[in-house]
Amino acid sequence: MRLADKTVERTLGLLALSSILVLLSITFFIFKEGAPFVFRVGFANFFSTEWHPTAGRYGISYMIVGTAAVTAGALAFGVPLGVACAVVLGEMAGQRTRELLKPAIEILAGIPSVVFGFIGISVVLPWIRLYLGGPGASGLAGALILGVMILPTIIAISLDALRAVPRSYRDASLAMGATEWQTIWRVVLPAARSGILAAVILGVGRAVGETMAVVMVTGNAVQLPLSPLEPLRTLTANLALEMAYASGDHRAALFATGIVLFVVIVGLNTVAALVRSRLARPASRARRARSRAITTTETEQIQPAVTP
């Protein structure tokens, strides 16, 4: 019996390694297909600004710029909106309202990216063309759509971070006469900031990796986007557009594009995991020290009024 139990434990342990194994084999295969190519054509070619696979030019610089621009735009829309929603859900709304609103976030999270892309094509692009000018398909369109798409990630993780702030923090602040907003702004949000930072980082990860919606709305022209109204191409779009017919060096170049994406994403996830693990500790020493300092100052301020 004991032997059987040991076997079971070992087997489960092996199964548990599956996700790490998958991660390692993704790394292995993508590097195997793309890395030799980069060394062969050289970093100068691969990070140049010219992407002409037929002429042997495989520069992805403008796509890196495109991804960065769209992501930055998405954050500009998505982060304020997402954090605001999390604060409303976590700190302001009553129990009843919260249970009505939370499913809405889940619906938003479930909408497939192709549907967002389609709405981009049929609503956002004509709107931009009509009121702002340009071809419509642009970095701005991508940023708007992605800003909405990263909302569920930002809301869910910020909400977790707000939940992790002990109730006593709020009680103490309110008991000293602070308003609800003062409590949120000066006590709860600062205490939750590493979790909110993790939410933003994971939002960046989602925006960088999003493919289908971006392919549909950004125009995909390989160029330096000088204004938000110009079309651009992202790294993911490059893969989705050309992988189907690429072969030889062209295919290897696309895998190399994949390597760049993969490294960026794994880096972001690692940072987010580190930031979040810090959050797991209930109250850091610094935070406790600060709350002690606040208590002392408040007492000092109150004392003269009390003692005659």
Binding site: G13, L101, P103, A109, I111, P112, Q182, T236, A273
Partner: protein, 283 residues
């Protein structure tokens, strides 16, 4: 904060107004998205659309073979990730007590959850489609989807297992059952509804997936129901992508989108409601 123009009470009012209106803005966007897709889509969805094969590259006819192909790819995908995910969850929830290995496993799963679907698709293409020679097929697509849903299955199953009160295990162990007997006969049955809900949630995620499937399940239009797991198929979301991007038929694109969004919304809301109830049972 100088002067009395912005008193704490006024600041509170201003902040509340701004935050609530941002919440409303987000809800409005969601409502518009749903309204936009369902209003124009549902009027073209009827029994004929659901039960007939597409004709004229999707301009007319229905989506029946695509529905079946989608079901096969996603169900097979989730069925593949289930043993891996549940096994991992059992190991994490019942056997390990923290430590470096657990942290590594958890990091691996979180990291995998963050890997963009296009990268997973690329990997699936190299490993399943070319190296293992499965070609563009239901099997290759399903295996790729299994990797995508694995982190979700691990997380939900672990939550379900952890929701089972420790007292259940203690009673079973005190009666002389071995650890494995306890898990199989006591813990797993108690956690089963939660685990199952997690799998359904994974299914919802898989149905909406596009980027991971373009290079693995193929995108050629099937005219009849796929016969073997090595046949290629087009899933609903890929079909929709082709219709919308090539501008083949707006009506059919809307109708397909409506079916897709409705299916996913029902699955997501249903399973999250079920999960909520499950968690409360032991809470």
């Amino acid at each position: 904060m100088s002067g009395r123009l912005l008193t704490p009470v006024r600041a509170q009012l201003v902040a509340r107004t701004i935050l609530w209106s941002m919440m409303m803005l987000a809800l409005t966007v969601l409502a518009l998205v749903l309204w936009f897709v369902l209003r124009r889509g549902l009027q073209h969805v009827d029994w004929a659309f659901l039960s007939q094969p597409p004709t004229d590259s999707g301009r007319s006819g229905g989506i029946f073979p695509i529905l079946i192909g989608t079901l096969e790819v996603t169900l097979l995908g989730v069925a593949t990730s289930a043993p891996l995910g549940i096994g991992t969850a059992i190991y994490l929830a019942e056997y390990t007590k923290g430590g470096r290995l657990t942290r590594a496993i958890r990091f691996g799963s979180e990291c995998l959850a963050g890997v963009p679907s296009i990268i997973i698709g690329l990997f699936g293409f190299v490993l399943f489609v070319t190296t293992l020679g499965l070609g563009w097929s239901i099997l290759a697509g399903a295996l790729t989807l299994a990797l995508m849903t694995l982190p979700l299955v691990i997380r939900t199953s672990e939550e379900a297992l952890r929701a089972v009160p420790a007292a259940y295990r203690e009673v079973s162990l005190s009666l002389g059952a071995s650890k494995w007997q306890t898990i199989v006969r006591v813990v797993l049955p108690a956690a089963l509804p939660g685990i199952f809900t997690g799998l359904i949630l994974g299914l919802g995620r898989a149905i909406g997936e596009t980027a991971a499937l373009i290079f693995t399940a193929g995108s050629s239009l099937p005219h009849q129901v796929p016969r073997s797991l090595l046949d290629g198929t087009r899933t609903l979301s890929i079909h929709f992508y082709q219709l919308a991007r090539e501008g083949i038929s707006a009506d059919h694109a809307y109708a397909t989108a409506a079916v897709l969004v409705l299916a996913i919304t029902v699955i997501n809301l249903g399973s999250s409601f079920a999960m909520h109830r499950f968690m409360r049972r032991y809470g």
